[in-house]
Symmetry: C2
Subunit: 252 residues, 2 copies
């Protein structure tokens, strides 16, 4: 048996997230269908995280033990010939037995993309959250610094999550503008349910001048979800990077 770490990219609009669910098309299921077509049988797959319905992934990782002898690049090309246009395999590498895409994950980086324009852009459709009000990206960047460090993120966690411990460590956070695109990037050891989308909704209020940047630290310390901003829609959110302790792999 080989153990493989496979990096995939997908547009999330057509999927109910990664994790297999009954009566819903998920990335995992479509990926496993592809594996079954290529290798002749279905292999179990471990995703690095669940990711919500509609969220995109620039780089999502999964591990899969299988008995195929096809070289990694052959698997990449073979799967890409089978998988649908909105899902592809970027990379495949052998990892030690027992390596698990979720349990071995050291952290992740997400990006939330705002399109700051009065006018819709068909090229960005389904890939940004658009707002016509002018965004002050410097204020947003200042506010985002409050997230950095080890904190209880209860104020930025959707109700109904089953996780007891809401302490997470954020390594980096920032907001930058490129033309009409304003991007919030955040990297940390772990993320609570809807955490990045609530962070983005709170930074949006700051960017629109509806809250001073200093208030974000207060909201964080309040542990009160009702004080933070809205959960923004999934289509602006991208899982950008997954971190592992592997030779040549990017570090958190």
């Amino acid at each position: 048996m080989r153990n493989l770490l496979i990096t995939i990219r997908y547009l999330g609009g057509g999927y109910h997230g990664f994790q297999v669910q009954e009566n819903a098309i998920t990335v995992c299921q479509v990926f496993q269908d592809g594996v079954e077509k290529l290798l002749g049988r279905r292999w179990d797959v471990k995703g690095c995280s669940r990711t919500d319905a509609g969220v995109h992934a620039s780089r999502f990782c999964l591990s899969m033990a299988c008995d195929s002898t096809i070289p990694p690049m052959g698997l990449v090309r073979g799967l890409n010939a089978i998988l649908p246009p909105d899902l592809s395999v970027l990379d495949c590498r052998e990892v030690p037995e027992g390596f698990h895409a979720r349990y071995n994950c050291l952290g992740k980086e997400y990006a939330y993309r705002f399109h700051n324009s009065l006018v819709r852009d068909p090229f960005l459709e389904g890939r940004v959250y658009r707002t016509g009000r002018p965004l002050d990206e410097a204020a947003m960047d200042q506010a985002a610094q409050a997230f950095v460090g080890t904190h209880d993120f209860s104020a930025f966690c959707a109700a109904g999550g089953s996780v007891e411990d809401k302490v997470r460590t954020i390594h980096r956070a920032g907001v930058a503008r490129e033309g009409e695109l304003v991007t919030f990037v955040v990297a940390g050891d772990g993320f609570l349910y809807n955490m990045v989308r609530i962070m983005a909704g709170t930074l949006l209020q700051v960017g629109e001048g509806r809250r001073p940047p200093e208030e974000v630290a207060e909201i964080l310390h309040s542990l009160d979800r009702s004080r933070a901003g809205d959960t923004l829609p999934p289509w602006g959110l991208f899982l950008e990077q997954v971190y592992y302790d592997l030779p040549g792999w990017p570090s958190l």
Copy 2:
């Protein structure tokens, strides 16, 4: 009556080009449907060019005389609320009576985008022509310089066109790489049927080392279509800019 110059953006994958045709969905028809919904009647529209089925437009211009009194930004926002996600209005301005989007056009800029990768990218799906062979963008750029100037472009024109005069002036041409994206940009006073796609197909051969860059000038002078490369598919092609002699408008 007012005369309006309207700039639109669209993903061409869902359209049989701009020009109205029977039994096919075209950009012009969908745009006019939107106008009819917003203004209560259908107005005649003049496009800057035909553009083929499947070709995208970063900026396509059309002129429309109508009696609406809605201010330009109101028309932009009103139409964008009605038009489908793959088509939007970027800009609207008043132009003199008699201004015609095609007859007043001084030139256009096109881009053909290559994705130079062994691996499909879902984010670029339908917006690039992918090739896995390493492209030598410097050789392509050198070859593209042969297009600059006033030439008979018969060798780069699809058979079956009705145009007699195949002399056009190309003002700029070049190829540049950004990571895995290699883009051919060409601007000129006019373009023959499939001209940019045949140019791109010929530069592809140069980039892959199947032809020396010097040969492109020979092909041009031969006036022989059979010596040039393949007509590449429409999905890599973007109409980038349309040039007019109007205050504040970009110059060719």
